[in-house]
Assembly symmetry: C2
DNA sequence: GTCGCTGCAAAGTCTTTGCAGAGAG
DNA sequence: CTCTCTGCAAAGACTTTGCAGCGAC
């Protein structure tokens, strides 16, 4: 019933929930709900990877070739989603950014410089320290990201 | 000659030291020491800011107009310095990367999404946790970066 | 002298934008 | 119906590259 319990540490969000959040967002900002937008959200949801706009575009073309979704729409939708904090982007190394759904549990990243794989992790200790730091400095934190670069277990072999 | 003493927690490095490290690096890789390369290193050293390649290029053109340093050389030198870990780059938000001298004391970043200013900080607690985490996961850390986004004290007014 | 470096301009990437027709509300 | 979206292609922003002459060693 009533409000969704604000569950700190909320775990994986259901797709239905996500979709309905997206629709609310669109309604609120008087934007339209289109097939392309839905497909982009769904593809992001179904991927555990961090995707580049191009990755996303390819995945969509494979799955829904009849839509002939343009790369421009992918960029436009990602920008929209990022503005609304529904996805977050990660930029590092070479050119380009990678996107992931922000609704997933918050986490930081271990990035392997050998194979490019990204491992996620969360550490409460660090999260707490971040709050202490920003509080102490009078900085109003809205988001943060942490990347650790190195060589993953696999590539060390 | 022998290796540079690996001094954990090394504090601000002197320019002379830095320059000589740079020369060793060049010698080791059979590259040449040129005025342009020196000027780029010096400009990075003298700046407390995180510079884009274009910023750097402008600063150099102002200070040494007679060199007519090309932007391509700035890019080439930054790539060289980054490969050798003498500078690190930070990429976020819009397009482009910002560079800073890696020899400076390690630190993380508070980035104001209003004014774009970058504040640096260090937290031993977090540094320690990072090591614990990578150790636990069998990940061989070579570097890391953390950014906290939000609104700085000034912009909250 | 040799061979790498540099500036310039041209070529590449990755992203954004303009436009006319398609489609959601 | 109206007004936003979309795909396409062209335009932009940022980087990289090819080349001929210059300069470090």
């Amino acid at each position: 019933m009533a409000e969704i319990a604000t569950d700190f540490n909320s775990r994986t969000v259901e797709y239905e929930q996500l979709l309905s959040d997206f629709k609310s967002l669109l309604k609120r900002t008087k934007l339209k709900f289109t097939i392309q937008r839905e497909v982009i959200l769904e593809t992001l949801y179904n991927s555990d990877e961090h995707l580049t706009p191009e990755d996303l575009h390819h995945l969509i073309q494979e799955k829904y070739p009849e839509l002939k979704t343009g790369i421009a729409t992918v960029y436009r939708t990602l920008a929209l989603l990022e503005d609304s904090s529904m996805v977050t982007s990660l930029s590092f190394g070479a050119q380009g950014k990678k996107y992931e759904l922000g609704a997933k549990e918050h986490h930081d990243h271990l990035i392997c410089t050998e194979c490019g794989s990204i491992t996620e992790f969360v550490d409460e200790e660090i999260e707490k320290r971040q709050h202490s730091i920003t509080d102490a400095l009078g900085f109003q934190m809205s988001d943060h990201s942490m990347q650790i670069y190195g060589i993953c277990k696999n590539c060390q072999k």
